[in-house]
């Protein structure tokens, strides 16, 4: 258009950005700069990283060593065992606890609040912290690792599952109670069937999560294939670590495909 049909003064002016957003942005940038200094961020790492003589130790991968049953395969089996037992224990205990933690099905408010507080605290402690603590308490090995992951998967499971119970249809429960049912049987017939599919699907997620976690438990002495990585890194045997990494990679990819397939069939 060549000539404006009215003077530009009638045009609205661009509103200034909201102060809260401006302050938020400034704070975020300032915090980033400060954090970067605190962690000794330096790009020179990338300059001399390629000339680091350690890279040579990554190659070749000693496949005979990697495929020797005792070196990697047995610890990997132990990893699976830790993941399986932790999932079974964690998810089993999670079943009653989740019902106690949902507003819909909790027997009383004391149970409700105490279970919530305890579970939130348990979940705030990272999985490997639990592993390290239990290694100190009950000794090095897969036992400590299974215990740690059981606790952590319990905490994850109850968080996910109790929110699904919260969202369940309350009417069957009311009907069962109105018919004079006691609390637990009423929940079992009125709510449990509708949320059971969610329980199964979360259990699968927790299993996937536990496999990933159990791969690294060994770095703090809690058993599984991570213990081999820990041992090899002490001696800078990075070729072996790379070999283990390839195996872990394959395991995780296969696992993901399988769990996607299983979940698709369940839904």
């Amino acid at each position: 258009m060549t000539a404006p049909s009215s003077p530009p003064t009638t045009w609205p002016t661009k509103p200034r950005p909201r102060v809260s957003i401006l302050i938020g942005a400034i704070l975020a940038i300032a915090f980033t700069v400060y954090s970067a200094r605190q962690v000794d961020m330096r790009f020179s790492t990338f300059a001399d990283v390629w000339t680091n003589p350690l890279w040579e130790k990554f190659w070749p991968i000693p496949w005979e060593w990697v495929f020797d049953r005792r070196n990697v395969i047995n610890p990997l089996i132990e990893t699976f065992q830790i993941a399986i037992i932790s999932t079974v224990i964690g998810c089993s205990i999670a079943l009653p606890v989740s019902f106690a933690m949902s507003r819909l099905t909790t027997p009383n408010s004391v149970t409700y609040y105490s279970s919530r507080v305890v579970m939130n605290i348990v979940r705030a402690i990272p999985d490997l912290f639990w592993a390290k603590l239990l290694v100190t308490a009950v000794g090095v090995g897969a036992f400590a690792g299974s215990w740690a992951l059981s606790i952590f998967s319990l905490a994850v499971m109850v968080k996910l599952f109790s929110e699904d119970i919260d969202g369940a249809d309350p009417r069957p429960l009311e009907a069962a109670k109105a018919a004079g049912g006691r609390h637990i049987p009423s929940v079992a017939t009125g709510v449990f069937p509708t949320v059971f599919p969610a329980y199964v699907s979360y259990s699968l997620y927790v299993f996937e999560l536990n496999i990933r976690a159990s791969l690294v438990l060994g770095l703090v002495g809690a058993g599984g294939v991570g213990r081999v990585i820990e041992a090899q890194r002490q001696f800078f045997r990075f070729g072996r670590i790379l070999g283990i990494l390839v195996i872990i990679f394959v395991v995780v990819v296969v696992l993901e495909q399988v769990s996607v397939a299983v979940r698709k069939r369940l839904v």
Binding site: I84, K132, A137, G141, W147, G167
Partner: protein, 293 residues
């Protein structure tokens, strides 16, 4: 297993035997797997019996937590250190994953570019941060920068995958409008796609920060600094009251950050009128970075 024999098809209506049989089969499989796992763990009976006592002992000895000693040792600075590591890692992941996620999205990127980038995301995601850190620590030296790099690298994979999925779910109309007006690809990304996905993507960054705080605490266990290193040194000397204080500080920090970040996320998503996410779906992403798609 004998139970898994398929049952005759002529079951009477009203009594579906098939599903019930399957339920039993699955239950037996789970029990067998659990039993096999227990035997593989090599736990003697008396260790099993004594263990809970040992654990309880440790918990008892953590009380009362030795706050004053820990504060003198700078435990607050150490937990902040973990937060700085997580933040820098998240920022690195966010900045690098954003452009890559456009190149990985099926609706705006050609196959030839998209497929290799997705493979890179998958490869990164499948290697645990801790193992990346083990290697980085060897190469760059011990310290928080190695931890931040490991977290950043891992975040590129997870954030890249989530963001590119967000891009794939946008309304394609505005892209067409830019094309029809003679705009370039980059302009379509900036003006038609970015405004649509930014609120969701930023909320993913915040999710990731919450997860990364836990990850950076854990990285301390293998020497990347921060609260994890403090936990290790106190546990190694079996100073349990000090351990209690470290745990307390960790719990407070993690819960505070979770609360702040999830409040911020909710504000961003609602302000952006974003898709309505189920709460447990959000919680899941929160904890695992896996989406419930």
């Amino acid at each position: 297993m004998a139970v898994s024999q398929p049952t005759p098809v002529e079951t009477r209506p009203g009594r579906p035997l098939g599903p019930r049989i399957w339920r039993w089969v699955i239950a037996v499989v789970i029990l067998v797997a659990a039993a096999w796992s227990v035997t593989g763990l090599n736990v003697s009976v008396d260790r099993l019996l004594n263990a809970s006592g040992d654990a309880w002992n440790v918990i008892k000895r953590m009380w009362p937590p030795a706050f004053s000693i820990e504060i003198k040792r700078g435990v607050i600075g150490k937990v902040l250190q973990s937060i700085y590591i997580a933040w820098v890692g998240t920022v690195i992941g966010a900045i690098l994953s954003l452009p890559l996620s456009f190149l990985a999205a099926g609706n705006v990127s050609p196959r030839l570019i998209r497929l290799p980038i997705r493979q890179v995301f998958n490869a990164i995601r499948s290697v645990p941060e801790l193992i990346v850190a083990v290697i980085l620590i060897a190469v760059t030296g011990l310290g928080p920068w190695a931890g931040a790099l490991a977290i950043g690298l891992h975040s590129i994979g997870t954030l890249g995958k989530l963001s590119s999925e967000a891009i794939e779910n946008i309304d394609a109309g505005p892209i067409e409008a830019v094309d029809a007006a003679g705009g370039r690809w980059i302009s379509a990304m900036r003006w038609a796609v970015l405004p649509q996905v930014l609120p969701v993507v930023v909320s993913y960054w915040l999710f990731r920060f919450e997860i990364n705080v836990r990850a950076s605490a854990v990285l301390g266990l293998i020497g990347a600094g921060g609260i994890g290193s403090e936990l290790v040194s106190q546990l190694n000397f079996r100073n349990f009251p000090e351990v209690g204080a470290v745990l307390f500080v960790t719990i407070v920090a993690v819960i505070t950050i979770d609360l702040l970040s999830s409040a911020l996320r909710r504000a961003i998503i609602q302000g952006g009128a974003g898709p309505d996410q189920s709460r447990s779906g959000e919680a899941l992403e929160d904890l695992t970075g896996m989406s419930l798609a």
